[in-house]
Amino acid sequence: MVKLVIDGKTVQAEEGKILLTVARENGIEIPTLCSHETLENTGACRLCVVEITKGKRKKIVTSCLYAAEDGIVVDTKSDRVLKVRRFVMQFLMARCPTSDVIRDMAANMGIAPETRFKPSEDGKTCIFCRLCVKACEDVVGVSALGFAFRGVDKALGTPYREPSPACIGCGSCAYICPTRQITMSSTENTRSICGKTFKMKACSVCGRYFAPEEQLAFISKKTGVDLEALSVCSSCR
């Protein structure tokens, strides 16, 4: 256990625990976009910055990557932190002015929309945090998504922008996307995501369409559970 001070409050934490988690456990809010409890943090959005004082030195760190240390003093709302965070927010606003998530966050910080930059024509709201790519690879285990090209041309998508044979239509990418760049649409018995349309399976008990057939086949193959047993929706099980 280590002892540290966050926003004037002395708290105890396990050594090595991530600062962001420690702060949240103690009821201290830090804004984030790219941190999700099921995935390892990568520090992509830079919104979670805090200022730490260690001995005589002060520095700005990303709280989602910094491990708690004994004796440090953390300030999550110092003038310097707010300045840096505003800066980061302005960049995010310039990048995705059409994202309502980002706009709301910016408005909360009193940042007006940036008029110098035109919103990108395709209305992209991707902040390149890679959450969707990691969810698809690490959690689902199919790796249908990735980034292509780099610099100003960098874009999220499936290889060749074609429907991916690997995609099972689970919707994890759409679910985890912090800026709702990835969307999923459905009709009664189909679901469309990442340029691919899936047939939904009807529950063998109640007849409700509840999951893409390809996803059920994937789960069955991965877990060895009979496909029949998986054909019952969660409410009828």
Partner: protein, 161 residues
Amino acid sequence: MNTENTMQDKVKEIVKKYKGDKSALVAILQDVQDEYRYLPKEALLTIHEQMDIPMARVYEVATFYDAFSLTPRGRFIIEVCTGTTCHVQGGMNLLDTFERSLRINCGETTEDGLFSVDRVGCLGCCSIAPVVRVNDTIHPQMTQDEIPRVLRTYMAKRYGR
């Protein structure tokens, strides 16, 4: 022989040369690029299957580096240096003349597949600026007047062998 099969075999051979080592992906892609002067989709799919690397990852790497191309590149790749020194010595004018003579834009390939034009940063030989590199040959102190002659030499080479 069916070209698809030969391409698959060729790529398999390259993968085997690196013993399927996943960390050798870039080297494997380089070999494929050398072989076909671009990375054909078929080749990327074969790499994905043979090496058990998700297609999305292979595609990420293939599109990340400028050295790789997803579309066929010319037999002669003209790289006009626009690094600081060459820029000052008129590298941009050379680029312009190449583009106009070949009727393509920088980054494109002529229809006959003979030439591609690219701009590159410093080639490391500023003392002989402005420099143009065609495949592995350096053309020092290039001038716009020389361009037609240089292009003709390479066109002749096509028939040469």
